[in-house]
């Protein structure tokens, strides 16, 4: 789960990680009041969406699709400029290289004081799955994409790994700061900031924190000028405050409904709906559909112990997608019994009045009973014995590769 920059900065502020004064706004009037209250001559007017690349993105009018303004993050030198930028941002669609071509409608704005920047750095904290520990990554190339720096100038990236038994040790922070060329007061500010940021990461069960740029000010301060924070969804049970930070507008409505029903769903661009048990098998099912010349409309994992109701919910979510021209059900029964799935499929088809072709492949526990139940039904269900023939069949039924 991701949060907005203004929310991430509030977490930083609460923990003592230095950030500038700023105000979250949802209207132009609030933006102007924020400018008046901040008392800073220069302010940054920043679009708040979860995707990165905002500064280099462009804003478009949602009705006409015309370009409204270049740049989703603007520096305003007057009240009038704040008004212009806020007007051009709020209610407009921001397209960045991370949003995809449909972009994101901007509802939130952050107006932040300016500061005196001496140098920009990059800093990220994340869980390194190979090292099985927290990794802190920093570079002197602030403001640039870390992937680009990794390609063009890998020696500019410095890394430290944190031993979970001892935590972040002072010498590690010092070494990282020194590697960035910091010294004196700036080095002290950096090590202090890093220790507090590490506490933020642990206390909030973060999956990733990225600060790009982290800046050194003229007076040797270190300030987080950006805050991209993602949480580990598995830890949601111990963070009651996450609900307040969740921006439903940033999440796919069908994906949320699926997750509430205990299903895992990701919408894709194709036209063959998939209903599968198990994440790996669900991905493999999509892959085989593609190999057979079709295009999967979704990833959908019903999990290990789905019941009739969940199967019905799964079908209804798949069918909401107007692109879906056929459905492939692929179940390898382990804990889940094929006869239960077969009954669930029949109930769902009857309840929802399915009109598109349906291929069902069953294997594993109670497969014969499951197949018999499908065979007895008068519904238009095409059985398949294995994944390859099931995928082949559904591709043929919707008319092949179109």
């Amino acid at each position: 789960m991701n949060i907005h920059e203004y929310q991430g900065k509030q977490l930083f502020r609460d923990a003592g990680v230095p950030v500038l004064d700023g105000v979250h706004c949802t209207t132009v009037e609030e933006a102007l009041a924020a400018y008046d209250n901040l008392g800073s001559k220069v302010v940054a007017v920043k679009s708040q969406i979860h995707a990165g690349g905002r500064g280099k993105g462009n804003l478009y009018c949602p009705e006409t699709g015309e370009l409204q303004m270049e740049g989703g993050v603007k520096i305003a030198f007057s009240r009038e400029e704040v008004e212009t930028y806020a007007t051009n941002i709020l209610g407009h669609i921001l397209i960045t290289k991370q949003t995809g071509e449909e972009g994101k409608l901007v509802h939130n704005l952050y107006v932040e004081s300016g500061c005196d920047i001496a140098h920009e750095y990059y800093l990220a904290m994340l869980v390194d799955r190979e090292a099985k520990s927290i990794l802190i990554m920093a570079s002197t190339e602030g403001g640039m994409d870390i992937e680009e720096v990794a390609e063009s100038n890998p020696e500019a990236i410095h890394k430290i790994w944190i031993d979970p038994n001892s935590g972040l040790l002072p010498f590690q922070s010092r070494n990282l700061g020194t590697a960035l060329g910091l010294e004196g007061g700036a080095l002290k500010s950096f090590t202090k900031m890093l220790s507090k940021l590490h506490s933020v990461f642990i206390a909030n069960d973060c999956a990733m924190v990225e600060i790009n740029p982290l800046v050194k000010t003229g007076d040797d301060g270190i300030i987080a000028l950006d805050a991209k924070v993602g949480f580990d969804s598995n830890a949601e049970f111990r963070h009651k405050d996450w609900d307040d930070m969740r921006d439903m507008g940033e999440e796919d409505e069908a994906e949320i409904r699926a997750s509430e029903a205990g299903l895992s769903y990701v919408k894709l661009d194709g036209n063959i709906g998939c209903l599968v048990n198990g994440a790996g098998l669900a991905m493999a099912t999509m892959d085989v559909i593609k190999l057979k010349g079709g295009d999967p409309a979704n990833f959908l994992d019903v999990g290990g112990g789905a019941n009739e109701e969940q199967v019905t919910t799964a079908f209804s979510i798949i069918l909401e997608d107007p692109n879906v021209k056929g459905i492939l059900v692929n179940i390898f029964g382990g804990i889940m019994r094929c006869d239960i799935i077969a009954r669930g499929v029949i109930a769902a088809v009857e309840n929802l009045g399915l009109e598109v072709p349906l291929v069902v492949r069953l294997a594993g526990t109670n497969v014969d009973e499951g197949k018999a139940i499908l065979a007895e039904s008068t519904l238009n269900i095409h059985p398949a014995d294995d994944l390859a023939s099931g995928a082949q069949r559904i591709v043929e039924l919707i008319g092949g590769d179109q």
Partner: protein, 307 residues
């Protein structure tokens, strides 16, 4: 022989009085696993009916191991307490026996909890953790065998193919594929789909290479991370037995989590294409479609003079 778990391994269940724990303990006992008891804090002294027999419950893993001399513990404890359960088992096995296998089935454990638990286990060299978020490990026997986890026992048969996989149901698919060419399995290991886990691909490949019963290996990966690439590079230098590889998620879009917490392509890294390419560079037999694993395995066995 087999890998880590012999067919007569003695097993305890952490969380045996819970709904999941009880259900799967029953299935394991039915399969023939030597399930010797379980533990749930506060429920020591009770017994649990597994259909085929009743087994005792202890308050702590330490008590359970001391009494039963168990070889392995399987964890069905809910996510908030699962990492603690893993560490309890690691400490108990280490103190009492200096060795032991912990299999964690639980899905949804916070990543930072696992970072801690894995470090704790790694500090105790005799202890092996499999999972979390995995189907478990199974060593089919001549009659029965040791099934430690949630996989359907009846689809397996004893044989010479070792299987290692990040996915649950896709492992069953691979098992069915070996059976389709009349090959059984030595041991099947689900390493789980979480970003931070215990045993990895390389550990499994090394164990299969060393196991005389295993003559060929099926390895099933998925998008995310670089474990498949590293395993492939390692196998090229260290594994002489034929390996058949498949990677799920060739059609997955970047930046989207595909069910498993670890299945995500980030920053353009962790794609199926990269992993397949790494397999091919390492001389691994590649199946692009899981339905072809059987056929590819047959070719691999023929070319190795094993058929």
């Amino acid at each position: 022989m087999s890998v880590w778990i012999n067919e007569d391994a003695k097993v305890i269940v952490q969380g045996i009085t819970g709904r999941q724990g009880h259900f799967h303990a029953t299935k394991m006992a039915e399969y023939g696993t030597d399930l010797v008891g379980g533990c749930t804090p506060g429920k020591g002294g009770q017994t649990v009916d597994l259909g085929v027999r009743e087994v005792p419950v202890w308050d702590s893993v330490e008590d359970a191991i001391k009494t039963t001399d168990a070889d392995a513990s399987v964890v069905y404890v809910p996510p908030p307490f699962a990492a603690g359960a893993i560490m309890e088992a690691a400490e108990a096995f280490d103190r009492i026996k200096g060795e032991g296998v912990i299999i964690c089935i639980t899905e949804g454990i916070p990543t930072l909890d696992m970072v801690k638990a894995v470090a704790y286990v790694d500090d105790r060299p005799g202890i092996r953790l499999i999972g979390p978020n995995c189907p478990g490990i199974i060593t089919p026997g001549d009659i029965g065998g040791a099934k430690i986890g949630i996989m359907p026992g009846h689809i397996h048969a004893k044989g010479r193919i070792g299987i290692v996989s990040k996915s649950g149901t896709l492992t069953y698919e691979a098992v069915a594929q070996t059976m389709s060419i009349n090959e059984g399995q030595s041991t099947c290991i689900g390493i789980g789909g979480d970003p931070v886990n215990g045993t990895g691909f390389i550990d499994c490949l090394a164990a299969f290479q060393a196991d005389p019963q295993t003559e060929a290996i099926v390895m099933i990966g998925e998008i995310g991370g670089s474990a498949e690439e590293e395993a492939a590079a390692w196998a090229k230098e260290n594994v002489t037995k034929p390996i058949i590889g498949f990677v799920a998620g060739a059609t997955a879009p970047p930046g989207k989590r595909m069910g498993h917490a670890g299945a995500i392509i980030s920053g353009g890294k962790g794609t199926a294409a990269e992993k397949f390419a790494a397999f091919e560079r390492a001389g691994i037999y590649v199946a692009r479609d899981p339905s072809e694993i059987g056929a590819v395995l047959k070719t691999a066995l023929e070319e190795a003079g094993l058929l």
